[in-house]
């Protein structure tokens, strides 16, 4: 089993390497370039040429890739082309914000989703099951910005319970930060919970259909016990998988929520960087997101190996 896990870790690193190639190639082929994206209709041929020279676009791509990767490994991600600031310095506070919001949302959403999902599986077909189903489907089919707008309108503008701007700074104390980011957290929880909850329910019900569960029932165990002790552990692999994907979404996909709540996270930085073709920033964000995803993915795989009794003891 250890070999299996080690293999998985090695593959993760390899994937990260491949991702870096893809990110680099992607930023190479983006149409347009920083110069004209920044200058819009005040660009002159001279100002464009000057800006392009600064990008070093006159040298071959392979050379620039090796240079970039070498520096990246040493923790130097270069300087932003637009603002000339150090990329690492620029990203760090925003990465912290993104992680904070993701963790905040995950801490609330994951246990809630799993418990609600298990309860729905236990009372499958009952009123509770249907009600939870209905509500989660409703939240999943409404786009996150509309959820955000509605929450702001009622909880912030009308009732004044929470601020509409989540404009935290690095020195905002934790308690205040939790309050400021409550609405974005709630929005994200509403968006991801339905997916996790429904997969938990479906996977558990799937296991419930297998013969050994019937054995448990024949032994006379109560249903909740069968679900929690026998079905749930065996349904963990797909559930962990879905949770890993949703956590990745919380890190990578919150651009829209950031915009609605004016939250200084990494997503907005990346969108700005892409639209302005600030290549070093795009590459750095891409690497971080790829890294975060690969890490979560690897964790999910390792956990799947650990929780699958058959894979745990390969013959």
């Amino acid at each position: 089993m250890l070999r299996l896990i080690a293999q998985r870790l090695g593959l993760g690193l390899l994937t990260l390497f491949a991702a870096s190639v893809l990110i680099f190639a992607g930023t190479e082929i983006l149409p347009g370039d920083l110069a004209s994206a920044v200058l819009q209709n005040s660009a002159t041929p001279e100002s464009l040429a000057e800006m392009r020279k600064e990008l070093g676009l006159d040298r071959p791509a392979a050379v620039r890739y090796v240079e970039w990767l070498g520096h990246a490994v040493e923790g130097d991600l270069g300087r932003s082309l637009a603002s000339h600031r150090d990329v690492v310095e620029e990203i760090t506070p925003r990465l912290k914000n993104t992680m904070f919001l993701a963790v905040y949302a995950a801490v609330v959403a994951v246990p809630l989703a799993v418990v609600l999902g298990l309860m729905a599986a236990i009372w499958q077909g009952g009123i509770y099951d249907r009600a939870v189903n209905f509500v989660t489907l409703l939240t999943i089919s409404v786009p996150e910005y509309l959820v955000g707008y509605i929450l702001i309108k009622y909880l912030s503008v009308r009732l004044g319970w929470f601020p509409s701007l989540a404009n935290v700074t690095p020195d905002t104390p934790l308690l205040e930060r939790i309050g400021l980011t409550f609405l974005p957290m709630l929005t994200l929880v509403l968006v991801v919970m339905a997916h996790m909850m429904r997969m938990t329910r479906a996977s558990v019900l799937q296991i419930m259909a297998s013969p050994y569960i019937e054995m448990a029932f024949l032994k006379g165990l109560p249903k909740w016990r069968v679900v929690v002790r026998h079905a749930f552990p065996n349904a963990l692999a797909p559930i962990i998988n879905v949770i890993a994907l949703d956590l990745a979404y919380l890190i990578v996909g919150v651009v829209v929520v950031e915009a609605v709540f004016v939250y200084p996270g990494l997503g907005q930085l990346m969108v700005d960087a892409v639209s302005k073709h600030d290549v070093p920033l795009v590459q750095a964000c891409g690497l971080i997101f790829a890294g975060a995803f690969i890490l979560l993915n690897m964790t999910a795989d390792v956990l799947a190996i650990l929780t699958n009794p058959r894979l745990r003891h390969p013959r």
């Binding site: 249907r130 089919s141 996909g253 892409v274 993915n297 699958n308």
Partner: protein, 275 residues
Amino acid sequence: MRLFGHRVPLTALIGLVIIAVNLITAIGAPWIAPFDQANVVGDAWGDPTSQNLLGLDNLGRDLLSRLIYGARMSIGLAFVITCLSFALGIVTGFAAAVLRGWVDTLLSRIVDLLLSMPTLIFAFIVLSVLGTDLPVLILTIAILDSTKVFRLSRALAMNLAALEYVEVAQVRGEGLWWVIRKEILPNAAAPLIAEFGLRFSFAFLFIAALSFLGLGVQPPNADWGSMVRDYRDMINLDAMAPLYPAGAIAILTIGVNFVVDWMLSIHSHAHGDGA
């Protein structure tokens, strides 16, 4: 009521009706809609009248007609995209799980790679380079979406492939296709069907997310996701406009998932679960 020999509960019936109404609307849009989707018939955000039951949109077009035409575009796109991504994801996912070895490693790495790229950025680069024609749009979203289906179906099949009867079948010399069809697909169907119901509604929202980057459906064609986007501000004026397309997406999602739940329960009954 019974259908194909199964009892149809009330929720499933509601779901079926919702799907039927939506399909009829989508197919018959040009005959059902009172106005053309592009026609400007009055002032922007005009109030509902007997002719314009839901009022007018941001450019003064009939909102109901946009909604009806939007059904055509949105459901059509979402259906094609979801089917494509499932076909792709399930075949590759099962193949990886059953064949193991280098096939699994290769496919898994490719998928990890695709998944590790932020979706919007990836779609953005592909569509910027290849253009925003409808087939390119469909294929891009389908491929991106299929990676998630791949992971799920692989995880499911891994569990199953480790079970004796599948191994027995392989030892018996049954081909890959046979094993997938006879042993794995029936046993993995439930979570996959559940996933289908959800992925379907994600497709609506993804198309809308692309229009945020200036990509997506060409004007003046309406699609529900973009309608929600375009009208979202009106929430601040207590207007109903954004809630109609959002409601349409929600109702269809709920309808599809009611039917999915019903199929799940038929499935688990067929497998002898007494619950």
